[in-house]
């Protein structure tokens, strides 16, 4: 793969992707490590990066670790654990100032690689396993994070809807794992899981900034000296799920506002040639403030402050979310289903088509202005195996007509209606 500006190569068993540019004041680095989402490994895989960020061989104490980042002009360092399709992805990120803006004695890019390489491959070890106190504290941290999901009702309802819809697939799993599994994880078992994870994960390293592929490769070989077995790629085992009937799930919690979420299945995924049609379908349905959901649920009926839809091309699902008065449930469901029917019937105006195309065009063009957005877009290509540049996708979106959107609508089947409602009355 060559376009989109990234230059692709291999080093130290990782796939390396470099975009040389002077557009930013920083070097953006992302390391993606992906493994299949699996009940037996999901929890230790999620816990490992929390322990890795506590200490390394060179910076064994957490304070030293964090002080080091501050010395590098407050280099941004963080990680995320999430699901993409049926993979569990751990993403490490660093964002470091380009040396030319500060009076630094060290090469901040080189030092960032040294730091990230150390985090990933040279953790603090005591008697051949992770430090016990770090594992104990971070186990609690992950437990608290899992328990805290319910605090944010919008997110909670969205995750519960997916969990219900995908209850027979690995995708039901939370990317941070399962609370029940945490207790049995020991410093030794976690170290073993970490080693297996590092050897088995698909690794993609991205750099965007004022550098070259040669420089990055040199740094990688120097600081990630571990030999990864081979450079494997992602493979999709997507199978469309047929929906026989719509399932309704209601849950009661102490809330002021009801949260109405819907889950839809589609056979169109990121690598599909019809992907642009699915993007357009989602855009017309609920991706924007001109979309059917916003206009009909919010502007016409004043039922909600937010009413929108999302499309996840890696998993082949669509979601709808809105916050409403609990007594308006029936009315809101009817209006939303009516919008789905309108799309299936092909009731799509030229104005809706043109507005949605313009918005998608804007979104795809804006990717150029953010280093991490550029990285994320290219990673989607690695993940799906679909070599399609933003420009190509743009051209495909531009060619979509109402009949294409109607055809896409036929693939989107309502699967689950989830309603989080108040206790009492």
């Amino acid at each position: 793969m060559t376009n989109n500006g990234f230059q692709h190569g291999n080093a130290a068993g990782m796939r390396i992707h470099v975009l040389p540019t002077k557009a930013f004041k920083t070097f953006a680095i992302s390391l993606y490590a992906g493994v299949p989402l699996d009940e037996s490994t999901v929890t230790p895989t999620a816990l490992a990066p929390f322990v890795l960020r506590r200490g390394t061989a060179t910076y064994p104490e957490t304070m030293q670790f964090r002080e080091r980042l501050e010395e590098l002009y407050g280099a941004g360092f963080g990680f995320d654990v999430y699901k993409r399709g049926d993979y569990q992805i751990v993403q490490f990120r660093m964002d470091t100032i380009n040396d030319s803006f500060v009076q630094s004695k060290e090469s901040l890019l080189g030092e960032s690689f040294a730091f990230l390489g150390e985090v990933l491959t040279r953790p603090l070890l005591e008697d051949g396993s992770f430090r016990a106190s770090y594992v104990a504290t971070e186990r609690e941290t992950v437990r608290k994070k899992l328990e805290a999901i319910v605090n944010d009702k919008i997110r909670y309802a969205a995750e519960r809807c997916i969990e219900e819809m995908c209850r027979q697939e690995p995708y039901r799993l939370h990317p941070l794992g399962q609370r029940a599994d945490l207790d049995s994880i020991t410093p030794k078992s976690l170290y073993d899981s970490y080693t297996a994870w590092l050897n088995g994960a698909i690794l993609d390293l991205y750099v965007v900034g004022d550098t070259t592929p040669e420089e990055v490769e040199r740094q990688v070989i120097r600081h990630f000296g571990r030999a990864h077995k081979e450079t494997a790629g992602y493979s999709s085992n997507f199978k469309p799920v047929a929906v026989s009937e719509v399932r309704t799930v209601e849950e009661k919690l102490d809330v002021n506002q009801g949260k109405l979420n819907m889950g839809l299945r589609t056979s169109i995924t990121y690598s599909d040639d019809r992907y642009a049609s699915a993007l357009m379908y989602n855009g017309i349905l609920g991706g924007y403030p001109h979309s059917k959901l916003f206009v009909n649920v919010r502007e016409k009926e004043s039922l909600a402050y937010y009413a929108s839809s999302r499309y996840d091309g890696h998993k082949g699902i669509g979601t709808i979310q809105s916050g409403i008065e609990t007594q308006n449930y029936g009315k809101a469901v009817d209006i939303i289903r009516k919008q789905l029917d309108e799309l299936k019937a092909g009731n799509i105006s030229d104005l809706e088509l043109n507005q949605t195309k313009a918005m998608i065009r804007n979104l795809l063009s804006e990717i150029q202005d953010s280093a991490f957005e550029l990285i994320s877009f290219d990673f989607n290509r690695q993940l799906s195996g679909k070599d399609r540049s933003a420009q190509e996708l743009l051209a495909q979106v531009d060619g979509i007509g109402a009949e294409d959107v109607k055809a896409a609508a036929d693939t989107f089947q309502l699967d689950t209606i989830y309603f989080l409602t108040g206790k009492g009355e």
């Binding site: 957490t62 100032i97 504290t137 608290k144 328990e147 805290a148 102490d254 809330v255 919010r298 804007n362």
Partner: protein, 426 residues
């Protein structure tokens, strides 16, 4: 057109004041595809009691600045979102304590979109019917925030600290307060605060400054604005002491949320003095509560705080307070430990090497922020409305001394001025 070059930042800013008093700034970013524009008025939720020279003293319902922001998007021919969408622009707006900001981001049709932004904000259209309709939508927005424990604990803290100053009133108001809003009250607020001389237009992205200024000049010249007198904002006197030491709200949460902070005596600071006080205070709070401090690490290992533990400082000429905290299993114990650890730092002061490192971190954070057109536009406007200059922050950071930060620590941390806000499960 004035040109200001900031060599160290490799940025050039262009500025012009229109005949009607509107300040326009353009920051070209030739490498960027997108253009981001904000059109802001110095008018927010705290401006609920005011007088315009030559007019009457007026008090308006709580939440009206935010309500007005919603209503601006409605035009006689429909929703302005549709116009932006037709031109590929993503538009939005937000209301804070002291400003209302309308914005768009787009990669094409920049001139059309810029005209749309200026025109819709300068063309109010309120009817009895569309005002009533909005009450349902904003009512749901208020309910959404009522279910959000982070918002509740944050506003709980401000309510605990302030009894008179309207900063303690929720930006969206309440269901009851917005019920009293009419198209007449909306026009009163609009006519008082949306005069161009109270507003700032900022454009950042792949644009040519002279073309932008020409567009704005022509656009503004075609609109008749009378000169507006000075706006006086009237604030009841706020007691120096906190209103409540402790405030608790009930909401289903997995673990209590605890936010505490110190209320400072307002000093009426503006301009460079305010910028310096704010940056010094934020640096001080980072040295005291940041994730690389001994205090943070101890409390984390004692399992009294989590990654949610954070700190901020909020100020205007009439108020200044810190807000520190996050989730904790034991708020009483956390506060006891905080007191012990903070008192120890108060006795010793900060160390030189920690100070230098924290300063580096702040400088790095500032430079990173300059990668983001959104952040630049928002921060620049916020600084300007306070009489400061975002692009002069670097020299301020470079000149802050350890003594200054230690002095700020001792001035800010006054246990008599402490309020605590909790959200706990019923």
């Amino acid at each position: 057109m004035n040109k200001l070059h900031y060599d160290k930042l490799q940025e050039t800013l262009y500025h012009e004041v229109m005949d009607n008093g509107l300040h326009v700034y353009v920051l070209p970013k030739p490498a960027f595809k997108k253009t981001y524009a904000t059109f802001a008025t110095k008018y927010g939720s705290v401006d609920n009691h005011f007088k315009v020279a030559g007019g009457e003293e007026t008090t308006v319902p709580d939440g009206i600045a935010h309500f007005l922001e919603h209503k601006m998007f409605e035009e006689p021919e429909g929703d302005i979102f549709a116009t932006f969408a037709s031109n590929g622009a993503s538009a939005n707006a937000f209301t804070s304590f002291d400003q209302t900001v309308y914005l768009f981001s787009a990669t094409e049709n920049i001139e059309t979109n810029l005209s749309t932004l200026i025109d819709f904000v300068q063309r109010p259209y309120f009817t009895d019917e569309n005002v009533e309709k909005e009450k349902g939508i904003i009512g749901q927005e208020i309910n959404m925030y009522a279910d959000n424990p982070d918002w509740r604990v944050y506003f709980g803290l401000i309510e605990a600290m302030y009894s008179k100053h309207p900063v303690h009133i929720d930006i969206a108001g309440t269901i009851d307060s917005i019920a009293t809003i009419t198209k007449e009250t909306l026009y009163t607020c609009y006519n008082s605060f949306y005069h161009p001389s109270n507003m700032l237009l900022f454009i950042v992205g792949g644009v040519e400054p002279e073309k932008v200024f020409e567009l704005v000049r022509t656009n503004q010249a075609a609109k008749a604005y009378d000169k507006q007198g000075e706006i006086t904002r009237i604030f009841e006197e706020e007691p120096v002491q906190v209103a409540q030491k402790h405030k608790e709200s009930r909401l289903a949460v997995s673990m209590p949320k605890c936010l505490f902070g110190f209320k400072e005596k307002p000093e009426g600071l503006t301009g460079e003095a305010a910028v310096r006080r704010d940056l010094t205070t934020k640096l001080m709070l980072d040295l005291l509560f940041g994730s690389s401090t001994a205090l943070y690490q101890k409390l984390y290992d004692e399992e009294l705080i989590s990654d949610s533990f954070g700190h901020e400082f909020n100020s205007s000429p009439q108020y200044a307070f810190s807000a520190v905290g996050g989730d904790t299993k034991d708020p009483d114990l956390l506060l006891k430990r905080i007191k012990e650890e903070v008192n120890a730092v108060l006795a010793s002061g900060f160390a030189e090497k920690d100070f230098e490192r924290a300063r580096k971190k702040k400088i790095g954070g500032y430079l990173r922020m300059l990668n983001s057109p959104e952040s630049i536009a928002h921060e620049f406007t916020r600084y300007q409305f306070r009489g400061g200059d975002l692009f002069e922050v670097l020299p301020v950071y470079e000149s802050i001394t350890l003594d200054e930060v230690n002095a700020r620590l001792r001035a800010h941390v006054d246990w008599e001025q402490l309020s605590v806000s909790l959200v706990v499960s019923p």
